[in-house]
Structures are given as structure tokens and as C-alpha cells.
């Protein structure tokens, strides 16, 4: 512990001796990183100091790790851009993510620094404001679709959707993040904000595999290997669930393993672990894993277990062919909608397809099988085996009967008939109105 404290002072000590306008220092730089400030451009090297107002930009396959005067640490991925808007000593810092991806780690101890506000750091994009109260998270922003995605690895981050027209200073950001529409994104959860939706999505768990890989990747792996698989053929996989069925019954569950391990180490021990796990799961407050939509409040949660695409900031929800994993409490997406790069945690679209920022899968070459080219990730409403929430994305639901239309038309026709009866003048036959017509549906 002492050693750690000494180390921190050794590294950070000189920070405090610097000019007030210089608020962050580059610790690690890979590839081409630069910043501009007051109309001039400067290269960023390891140990470069960055002032308030600096716009830091990384090129392709580049990466920079920054440490701020309040000891928070930020990593900027490739093709990303941030602006250090404000970083006062006694107020929350404001960092604008202009594009790309940002990973920030702020230790809890540091958050206790006296004089700091409730939110210790604000991160803002064009579509979202985030108040950092917790420790480790990643934000992505795509300039084409204006979507922001946030994944929290530990602690909690407050997030609210914003529009880009206001002056988002301390006061406005504080007020926005104290509003009712704020969501608190906790460990292992994702939330997204985009211009089409009134508020940030309710936090849901992402794929546990992607979460774990991303957690161990400070963007440096992603930074150097980005683009490795994009546009190239990845191994062709199909959903482990055959077509035409719901996945849950096809999976074997954990009972077999529980029994085997119970025999090995004692049933009592396994039961104790099981109880602990159940208690932890019960205390987790999340929307239902199959997704949720409240028409009144517009609160929306996509189905849990999806992948986050780092480039587009899109959430790829588990769709047809997915199954519920009782262990993680999420749906395991079908391999047919893509996979996770096991080194970087990047989402890879299905073999032969690219994902556009508008959420469409485009065939890379004409010969590619277009089996799922019609997937839309514009998360209107999704449903995975649940009755209420959501309209399916992939299910072919043609309204062939038009029964509702038919009912309405008949009702209206009847209504009109009755009125004709009532309004018909006495000399006419009383049953003039009994016009028995029906509509023919196209």
C-alpha cells in the first residue's frame, strides 16, 4: 500500500508543480497523436503536457494514455478526438468526446477529493452527457449516426441524452444529470443515446464475453489491431439453435455441471455457492432481460446480452436464434449476427457483411449469402420470447388478414347505417338504412 502511494506521488508529483492551464499529461503514445490549441497544432509525445482547451486527436491505429491533474486516467482509441473543455481543481472536469472511443479509469479514492462535486468528471458527446461517479468505463461516439454508447466496467456512471444546441457548461450538465431521465449505468451494463430517441436507453447487461474482453483491454489492443477482420471473411458460423424454435429448451443448462461438481467437492458446498449466486442475482436491478418499453415514459431497454459495435456505437441486440443464458442473465446472440474478437473485444459483423452506421448489414461482395441482410439494429422494439414489449425485427410478420382494418371498417359502416336510420325522414321506409355493405380488402 505504502509502495503504491509512493509510486503515485512519484508519477503524479510533478503534475502539481505545473502551470494551472496544463491539466493532463500523455503517459503512453502509440502511432500518430496530435493536439491543437489556440489555432496551432502540436504533436503529442509521451510526457507531453496538454492545456485546457486542447483538442487531442489520434490517427488510425494510434492510441494515447493521459493522466489528469485529479489523477483520473483516460485512454483515447484510434481515430478519436477529445476536447478538454474545463478542468478546474475544485470542480468537475469536462471532457468532450468529439468522435471515437474513450476509456476512463478514475479510482474511487480519488473521487473523495474534497471540494469536488457529486459528479467528479463530465464526459459529453453530441448526444449524451455523462457524470462520472464511478471508476472504469468506456464511451464511444459515432459522428455519422450521432450515437453514444457507454459501457461501465466498475462503479457507476450517470448518463442522460442531450441535444447539441445548448451551452453545456457545469451548470447545465449538472442539472441535466440530476433530471428524471438520467440512467445510472452500473458494472457490466450498457446504455446508449441517439438523436432518434427521447432518452438514454435503460441500462442492460451486454454479452458477458465481450464485457470481459473489453474490460481487460484499455483500447491499446483494439488500437493496434483495429480493422484486422473488418471486411474480411471470418469463420462461418451458424446459430447453435436450429431455425424455427426458441433457444432455451435446446440448451442443457447448468444442472449437469452442478451435479458433477457436487459429487466431486460436496453437494453442500455447491448449494452454498448456488445460494450466494442467487442472492447476488436477486439484488441486481435491471430491466427484464427480454427488453422493455414503456410507451408513457418512453423508457426503453433493448434485450440484454447484445454486442456493442465500437465503430458505430450501435448495440446489436440478440435476435432470432439467440437463447437465454441463465448464468449471466442475458441472451446469447446467435453466431449468425456476428461474433466478438477474442483479443480486442471488437464486434465483428457476420461473415461477408459490414455493419453501417445506420444499422444495416451490407454484403461485402455480391456473391455473399444475404441471409440476414435485412437485420435492422434500429432498436424500435425487440422481443425475445416475451409477450408485451416489442415488435420483432427478424420475424416475418406480414399482416395478411388485415383483420383489424376489417373490423374498423365494418364498425364504421354499421355506425353510419344506424345514423342513416335515425336521420331518415319519416316518409322514407324505416329500414332504408340497412345497407349491408362490407369492405373488400386489397
Amino acid at each position: 500500500m505504502k509502495l503504491n502511494i509512493m509510486l503515485i506521488f512519484f508519477i503524479l508529483g510533478p503534475l502539481f508543480a505545473q502551470d494551472d492551464s496544463k491539466v493532463a499529461k500523455a503517459l503512453i503514445v502509440r502511432g500518430k497523436v496530435s493536439y491543437h490549441h489556440n489555432g496551432s497544432h502540436y504533436p503529442v509525445n509521451a510526457k507531453s503536457w496538454l492545456p485546457i482547451g486542447a483538442v487531442i486527436k489520434t490517427s488510425k491505429k494510434s492510441f494515447v494514455k493521459l493522466i489528469f491533474i485529479d489523477k483520473s486516467q483516460m485512454n483515447l482509441g484510434p481515430e478519436s478526438e477529445i476536447k478538454i473543455k474545463a478542468f478546474p481543481r475544485k470542480k468537475a472536469g469536462i471532457v468532450n468526446l468529439i468522435k471515437g472511443q474513450l476509456r476512463a479509469k478514475v479510482s474511487k479514492d480519488y473521487l473523495e477529493i474534497k471540494g469536488k462535486e457529486k459528479d467528479k468528471l463530465y464526459i459529453r458527446t453530441q448526444s449524451a452527457a455523462m457524470g462520472v461517479r464511478g471508476t472504469d468505463f468506456q464511451v464511444n461516439f459515432n459522428t455519422e449516426n450521432k450515437r453514444t454508447s457507454l459501457i461501465t466496467f466498475s462503479g457507476a456512471v450517470a448518463m442522460a441524452k442531450i441535444d447539441q444546441e445548448r451551452n453545456w457548461g457545469h451548470q447545465n450538465l449538472g442539472a441535466r444529470l440530476a433530471s428524471r431521465e438520467v440512467v445510472i449505468v452500473k458494472k457490466g451494463q450498457f446504455s446508449g443515446a441517439d438523436p432518434d430517441r427521447d432518452r438514454a436507453t435503460l441500462p442492460v447487461k451486454i454479452s458477458p464475453t465481450q464485457l470481459e474482453i473489453l474490460k481487460n483491454n484499455d483500447l491499446s489492443i483494439q488500437g493496434s489491431k483495429r480493422g484486422k477482420l473488418k471486411g474480411k471473411e471470418s469463420p462461418k458460423m451458424r446459430s447453435i439453435i436450429p431455425p424455427g424454435v426458441s433457444g432455451d429448451d435446446f440448451m442443457t443448462g447448468h444442472e449437469g455441471i452442478k451435479k458433477e461438481l457436487g459429487q466431486n467437492i460436496g453437494q453442500g458446498i455447491i448449494e452454498t455457492v448456488e445460494k450466494k449466486v442467487q442472492i447476488t442475482k436477486k439484488t441486481e436491478q435491471s430491466p427484464p432481460p427480454q427488453g422493455f418499453y414503456d410507451a408513457k415514459t418512453k423508457a426503453y431497454a433493448p434485450p440484454a446480452g447484445g454486442y456493442v459495435d465500437m465503430d458505430t456505437a450501435l448495440y446489436i441486440p440478440p435476435a432470432e436464434g439467440s437463447y437465454f443464458d441463465d448464468n449471466s442473465g442475458t441472451y446469447t446472440p446467435s453466431a449468425a449476427i456476428g461474433s466478438i474478437d477474442h483479443e480486442s473485444g471488437d464486434y465483428n459483423p457476420p461473415s461477408g457483411f459490414n455493419l453501417t452506421s445506420q444499422g444495416e448489414f451490407i454484403a461485402i461482395k455480391e456473391s455473399a449469402e444475404r441471409t440476414i441482410a435485412s437485420i435492422s439494429t434500429k432498436e424500435n422494439h425487440y422481443t425475445i420470447g416475451s409477450k408485451e414489449e416489442v415488435a420483432p425485427v427478424l420475424i416475418n410478420s406480414q399482416n395478411i388478414g388485415g383483420a383489424e382494418d376489417q373490423k374498423l371498417v365494418e364498425e364504421l359502416a354499421k355506425e353510419r347505417d344506424e345514423d342513416v336510420t335515425r336521420l331518415a325522414p319519416p316518409p322514407l321506409p324505416s329500414n332504408f338504412s340497412k345497407v349491408n355493405f362490407r369492405f373488400i380488402l386489397p
Partner: protein
């Protein structure tokens, strides 16, 4: 002393190494930790625990199996396969292993290996029906219909298989057959003989399950596409779902100028200048049956009753009425070239009793029988045209007032793209009474505009109608009478079974004889129960 030091140094080093280097977890502890992480879905961490633990020889196979399961959950099928194989190699083969191996090979598109393991799983009686489903599914990918049929039939025929799985197998078989008949000449027959029964049988297992609903949708889709829908007539026209209809209504109205029929001059109506509330109620029931997907028969019966609140003024309460109106309607569906049409025949009877003597006693007032023939056809794409020719025989309590009428009726429906509906109606009613003096000819023009869901679920209907009455032998005194009516009705559904409406009408009649001129306003609140 020196010797002691030499002996002590390695011991110290050993102790130091033991304390500093990370000690491998003992197998039991590792399995406990593994299970906790596994149950939390932290598969990478769970594998790491196994990798860093010491392995007893007897646990080697188990650990490979545990790793394989984690990799399978993470959809890393290549590694999963590798560890499953190692598990078998180490003689660890729990009952589910073949099924799970089949799954990972299936997901990797290695169908021959997958088939091998699924067959072993069937042999071991582990999830046999699910294994058959995988086998059937793989045969589908190979376009081997015989193989598909064989495997899916194993599920369908065995009632021990889960109901939803049986339904899924029915659906898959039907789907494949649908694909096979595309372009075939006798596809209608195959649909009727094989596909529809498959879908119906599948649905019947549990219509409310998710598969049951899918089967039901599919059934409708197929029936519609191949013109085999029970609600679809031969011409292609669709009927509403309901066969039986029951309705009850309760009205409360305010009439600013209660009109009454001049008994001395039937056919003429005059305003009394009295206003009154009145209440009415009615019942209606009908049942529609369809034969041969062409003949539609609808018997119906209606009862209505009306009573004025003002029971002191006989000019008002003479209008207290009840009527019973049974009817029988028939439609014969057919085609006009490429468009749909229906021949219409209606037989309508009406019995009306009224307090015509003002004695608070409703007595026989008149009865009518109408025979009408007509045709409904689609002249314009926007909506139906209906033409009817009616013959009416009216028997009054007074012979002089009994009449025969010839009625010609025409209406046209226009459904606009925004969902609004316009209906125009023309009707000519030529009435010949026993006493010629009372004979009249009336001509009506009417326009209705329906605006569904105008505001939230409120539906509005605007109407305008004009009637021109040729008073025949009374022309010298009454001239041609004109009536104009303007109406607005707002209605809203209250749940599935109730409807509430508010209507307001304004009527103005002009006549050469000032005693037959009047105008009135009528406001009605109505609550309806619909079934």
C-alpha cells in the same frame, strides 16, 4: 555455526519461494470458485481458475468438459470442440456431452460430425427429440426432404416429445412443403390435402403457445395465399371474423321540436314545437353462416323501444313506439371478370306498435315486408358500389294508409389513402297508398364522411343529406317539400365490449304549407354493448 548457516539457507529459500510464488489452487477450491464464476456468466475468469489450479488425474476429463462448456457458451466453438474431445479422451463422458458436441459441430457447419454425435445422444437417450430436430434441420440444409421428414416425424408422432417441439416440427415440415410446391400446377390440392392439415394439427396441440401462434399465423398466410381461407370467399373477398353478433344500446336524447305524423295525412310530418327528452333502448342479434365459400346467410332480429319523458302532452307521447324487425339476408359471392361481386337478397319484416291514440298504450301501428334484390360490385378501386331494388308492402292500422313502395337504392364507398371513408347514397322511394291522396315520391341524397381515430381513439362522422318529396295529389297545397339534415357524431370504444357516442343533428324541412315547415335539433347520448 557455518554448517548450520549452509543448511538453513536452502530451507529459507524454499519457504520464501513457497510464500512468494502464487500457489496453485487445490482442486476442490478451484471447482468451487469455477462454479461461482460459471453461474455468474464470467466464463473467461472461470476458465482462468481451471488453468491456474492443480489438476488431479481423475479431474482431467471433467476440467476439459468444464472448459468446453464455457467456450461453447462464449461461442468459441473451435476451442469447445477441442476440449470436448479431450474430455472424452480422458474417459469423461457425462450424459449430455454428445448432445453438446453435436451442437458445437452443428454451429460450426460440420454436419457429418454433428449427426454422429446427435445420433449418439439419441442412443444415450439424452434429449432425443431435440437431437432429432437438429438432424432434421441439417437434412433441410442438405435439401434432403426424405431425411427431413423422417426426423421430424419421429418428433411429431411421439407424444413424449415436448408439445412446443412437436409444434415446431409440424411447422418446419409445412414450411418445407410450401417451398417444394412453388410453381407446381396442383399446389392448391397439396396445400389443402397436406399443408393445411399439418398446420392445423400443429396448432391444435396448444394454440396459445408461441409456436401455436406462429402456426396460426402461418395457417392464415397459406390459406390466404392459396385462396383456402375459411373467411375468404371464392372470389377472393374476405369476411370479418365474427359469425355471431349481439348488441344492446341505451339512448338518451333531447329533441327540441318533437315531430309527429299527421294521422289525417299520412306521409306528412309536422313539428309540434314541444321539446322533450326521450330514452330508447334496443337489442340486436345476427348470425352469419357461410356455405361453399360462396353463399352467405345472415338471419337477424332487432327490437327497439322509445319513450318520451313528457308523458303529459299527448302530441309528444303519441310517438312512444316499439318495433320488432326480423330479417333474413343472403349474399351469393361471384366475380365480375377480375373483380369481386355479390348478389344480394334481403327479406325484411317490421312490426311497429305506437301509442297512436295518446292513451299511454302502444298498439298496432303498421307492419311492412320488404323484398330487395341487389348487387354489390367493385366499379372503382377505392370502394364498393351497391345497387338495390326493393319492393315494400306496408299494412297500416288504417286501410287508407296501407301502401306499396318501389325503392331504388345506390351507394358508393370511397376509402381514402389516409383511412378516411366517404359514402355517397342515392335513393328513390315511390309510395303508392290505398288512398291515392297520400301517395308520395321521395328522393334522397346523402353524403357521409368517416374519420377514424380523429383524436386518439375518437372517431368522427359528418353527414349531410337532402330529401325532396313530391307530394303528388297534395302538390297544390304542399308543393315539393325539401328536407336538409346536418349531423355530427363522435364515438369512442370503451374497451372491447362497449362504445360511447354523442351525436347532434340539425334538420330543416320546408313546405308550401307552412304547417309542415319545421326545424329541430336532436342530441343523443348512446352507450352500446357489443359482442
Amino acid at each position: 555455526m557455518g554448517v548450520k548457516k549452509i543448511i538453513q539457507l536452502p530451507s529459507l529459500l524454499i519457504i520464501l519461494v513457497c510464500f512468494i510464488s502464487p500457489s496453485p489452487l487445490w482442486a476442490n477450491e478451484a471447482h468451487e470458485k469455477f462454479y461461482k464464476l460459471f453461474r455468474q456468466g464470467q466464463y473467461i475468469q472461470a476458465i482462468k481458475i481451471l488453468d491456474s489450479s492443480s489438476v488431479r488425474k481423475k479431474d482431467r476429463g471433467l476440467n476439459h468438459y468444464l472448459r468446453a462448456t464455457c467456450y461453447s457458451k462464449m461461442q468459441d466453438f473451435e476451442k469447445a470442440k477441442d476440449h470436448f474431445k479431450k474430455s472424452l479422451k480422458n474417459n469423461y463422458s457425462p450424459p449430455e456431452i454428445y448432445y453438446e458436441m453435436g451442437q458445437v459441430y452443428y454451429a460450426s457447419n460440420d454436419f457429418s460430425e454433428a449427426s454422429k454425435y446427435f445420433k449418439q445422444s439419441i442412443k444415450a437417450n439424452f434429449k432425443p427429440f431435440y437431437s432429432y430436430y437438429y438432424l432434421g434441420s441439417m437434412e433441410e440444409f442438405k435439401d434432403n426432404f426424405k431425411g427431413v421428414k423422417k426426423n421430424y416425424l419421429k418428433i411429431i408422432k411421439d407424444k413424449e416429445a415436448a408439445p412446443e417441439l412437436r409444434q415446431a416440427a409440424y411447422l418446419r415440415l409445412a414450411d418445407i412443403l410450401i417451398g417444394l410446391i412453388e410453381g407446381k400446377r396442383d399446389r392448391g390440392r397439396i396445400v389443402e390435402k397436406y399443408i393445411i392439415p399439418l398446420l392445423k394439427n400443429g396448432e391444435a396441440i396448444n394454440p396459445k403457445s408461441s409456436q401455436g401462434r406462429t402456426l396460426s399465423r402461418k395457417l392464415e398466410e397459406v390459406q390466404y395465399k392459396y385462396n383456402r381461407h375459411p373467411l375468404q370467399l371464392k372470389s377472393g373477398r374476405f369476411l370479418g371474423k365474427k359469425g355471431f353478433t349481439f348488441e344492446a344500446n341505451l339512448d338518451y336524447s333531447y329533441d327540441t321540436n318533437v315531430t309527429s305524423v299527421n294521422e289525417a295525412n299520412e306521409g306528412a310530418v309536422s313539428g309540434t314545437l314541444f321539446s322533450s327528452w326521450y330514452r330508447g333502448w334496443g337489442l340486436f342479434a345476427s348470425y352469419r353462416s357461410v356455405k361453399e365459400r360462396q353463399f352467405i346467410f345472415t338471419p337477424e332480429i332487432r327490437y327497439t323501444s322509445l319513450k318520451y319523458n313528457d308523458q303529459t302532452n299527448s302530441e309528444v307521447f303519441v310517438n312512444d313506439t316499439y318495433s320488432i324487425s326480423p330479417a333474413f339476408r343472403m349474399e351469393i359471392d361471384h366475380r365480375w371478370g377480375h373483380s369481386q361481386g355479390s348478389f344480394l337478397y334481403d327479406l325484411e319484416y317490421d312490426y311497429t306498435a305506437r301509442d297512436r291514440n295518446g292513451l299511454h298504450q302502444k298498439i298496432f301501428y303498421g307492419r311492412s315486408l320488404i323484398n330487395s334484390f341487389g348487387e354489390k360490385f367493385r366499379l372503382f378501386a377505392a370502394g364498393d358500389t351497391t345497387f338495390k331494388f326493393k319492393l315494400k308492402q306496408f299494412t297500416s292500422f288504417s286501410d287508407d294508409l296501407s301502401s306499396k313502395s318501389t325503392i331504388i337504392y345506390l351507394d358508393q364507398v370511397w376509402q381514402r389513402k389516409n383511412g378516411h371513408i366517404i359514402i355517397t347514397t342515392l335513393q328513390g322511394d315511390l309510395v303508392t297508398t290505398n288512398l291515392d291522396l297520400y301517395s308520395t315520391d321521395s328522393y334522397l341524397m346523402r353524403l357521409d364522411y368517416l374519420w377514424p381515430n380523429m383524436w386518439k381513439s375518437l372517431t368522427a362522422m359528418f353527414s349531410l343529406s337532402g330529401t325532396l318529396t313530391d307530394t303528388g295529389e297534395q302538390k297544390a297545397t304542399r308543393g315539393s317539400e325539401k328536407m336538409l339534415t346536418l349531423g355530427l357524431k363522435l364515438s369512442k370504444r370503451l374497451g372491447s365490449y362497449f362504445k360511447f357516442s354523442l351525436a347532434h343533428d340539425y334538420t330543416k324541412q320546408s313546405s308550401k304549407d307552412i304547417s309542415y315547415e319545421y326545424n329541430k335539433q336532436l342530441t343523443t347520448l348512446r352507450l352500446e354493448a357489443l359482442y
